[in-house]
């Protein structure tokens, strides 16, 4: 079976690397970026199955990436937003601009995996 491709945009080095390690160990192909702009360029030129992005990032924010995917590219690729913000409005805004899931940090990789699988329609 062809492995699913995920874009992981997160500027915290150890979190990005560890999540990438975890998802790769579960059979996903992960392209990781610490800069929002680079992540967006990769999304535009490649076919990915899911986008996992932090909100606060250098270059372009996770919100802008989601907005760009929905409005400019008009793609329905699943988007999961990660954030350390506990502000209710941030969560509402994320869904408003088209994110499929919102996960507040600290995260549980196991829960993240379940949500990714659910969005990609993968049964374990």
């Amino acid at each position: 079976m062809k492995s699913m491709r995920i874009v992981l945009a997160e500027d915290n080095d150890i979190l990005r690397k560890s999540l990438s390690f975890f998802l790769e160990s579960k059979g996903y192909e992960v392209d990781q970026f610490s800069d929002g702009k680079e992540a967006l360029e990769a999304i535009e030129t490649n076919n990915y199955d899911l986008v996992l992005t932090d909100i606060n990032m250098p270059g372009i924010s996770g919100m802008e990436i989601t907005q760009y995917i929905r409005q400019r590219i008009q793609s329905d690729i699943p988007v999961i937003i990660l954030t350390s913000s506990g502000v209710e409005q941030t969560e509402l805004d994320s869904f408003d601009i088209g994110a499929n899931e919102f996960i507040a940090k600290p995260v549980s990789p196991a829960v993240l995996l379940v949500r990714i699988n659910k969005l990609l329609g993968i049964r374990i």
């Binding site: 915290n12 150890i14 979190l15 506990g86 995260v107 549980s108 990789p109 196991a110």
Partner: protein, 273 residues
């Protein structure tokens, strides 16, 4: 002294003065240049080591967290064995463990806590608490609180009474993280005014650490220290603790001054609207 005065009086002082000045300037410049080079080299070396150790530490932590590698196996790793007593390596490992712990919860966070204990990094943090430098103590307190080391609560509580403002706020935040409301219970007897900056930090700590059990916050309203009472009111308002309304009502009728009475009425209005 006499010799110097003679030099000045007969007007021949210019030459030796200029020679001494130039020599001092050149010596100082050389010393500063060498210090600069030394500092730069040290930074470059540390950056190189960070990259080198980073790869090993990442691999180590990921196997601990995601592959359930026991510590008895980690200790057999040749690279780890070689570096485990290196101060810089340990410091960088602690930094990475803390960073990862801040971002993970549940069973993954527990595995990191276990590694922190088994690897002796916890002892390094405990040593920091004994430092005479306040910034080192702050670092130790932050690390131990992040890793949920509850047994140091009393020591941290002692630090929350320190004179240094940053140390005091760091310690109070840590107490709240570790024990919730119990972490500020001692403030009821606090003899000095608590300034706005400290109050803001305490409220932020309650929000950040999502303290569920708020039993005891109402005791702040009974303090003789009016700034502590004001803090109690702010906490009740910011955390929207409607279950504390009877205590606020009581304060509104028996407040020691008009400011607190007004504040209590304002909180009541917000909570009951």
């Amino acid at each position: 002294m006499e010799h110097l005065w003679e030099l000045y009086a007969n007007g021949t002082w210019n030459e030796p003065f200029l020679i001494v000045s130039i020599c001092s300037f050149v010596t100082a410049s050389v010393i500063l240049y060498l210090l600069l080079i030394g500092s730069r080299n040290s930074h470059i070396k540390n950056e190189r080591l960070r990259t080198e150790y980073g790869i090993l530490i990442d691999k180590l932590l990921f196997t601990v967290v995601f592959e359930d590698l026991p510590f008895s196996d980690i200790i057999q790793n040749e690279n780890y064995k070689k570096l485990k007593d290196n101060r810089f390596f340990r410091e960088f490992t602690t930094e990475s463990v803390i960073n990862l712990h801040k971002n993970y919860n549940g069973v993954y966070a527990r595995k990191l806590e276990q590694f922190y204990k088994d690897s002796g990094l916890k002892n390094d943090s405990l040593k920091k608490l004994k430092s005479l430098k306040w910034d080192i103590r702050c670092k130790g307190i932050t690390e131990l609180a992040e890793m949920n080391v509850h047994e140091v609560f009393d020591t941290i509580l002692t630090n929350s009474k320190a004179r240094n403002k940053t140390l005091q706020i760091t310690a109070i935040n840590a107490c709240i993280k570790l024990e919730g409301t119990k972490g500020i219970a001692h403030l009821t007897e606090h003899p000095y005014p608590i300034d706005d900056w400290t109050q803001v930090n305490i409220i932020a700590a309650f929000k950040k650490h999502d303290v569920g059990d708020t039993q005891g916050i109402e005791n702040l309203l009974e303090s003789k220290n009016t700034t502590v009472v004001a803090l109690g009111l702010k906490l009740i308002k910011e955390l929207k603790l409607t279950q504390k309304v009877p205590f606020v009502e009581q304060l509104a009728t028996q407040a020691p001054n008009t400011f607190l009475k007004y504040e209590a009425q304002s909180v009541l209005q917000q909570l009951t609207d």
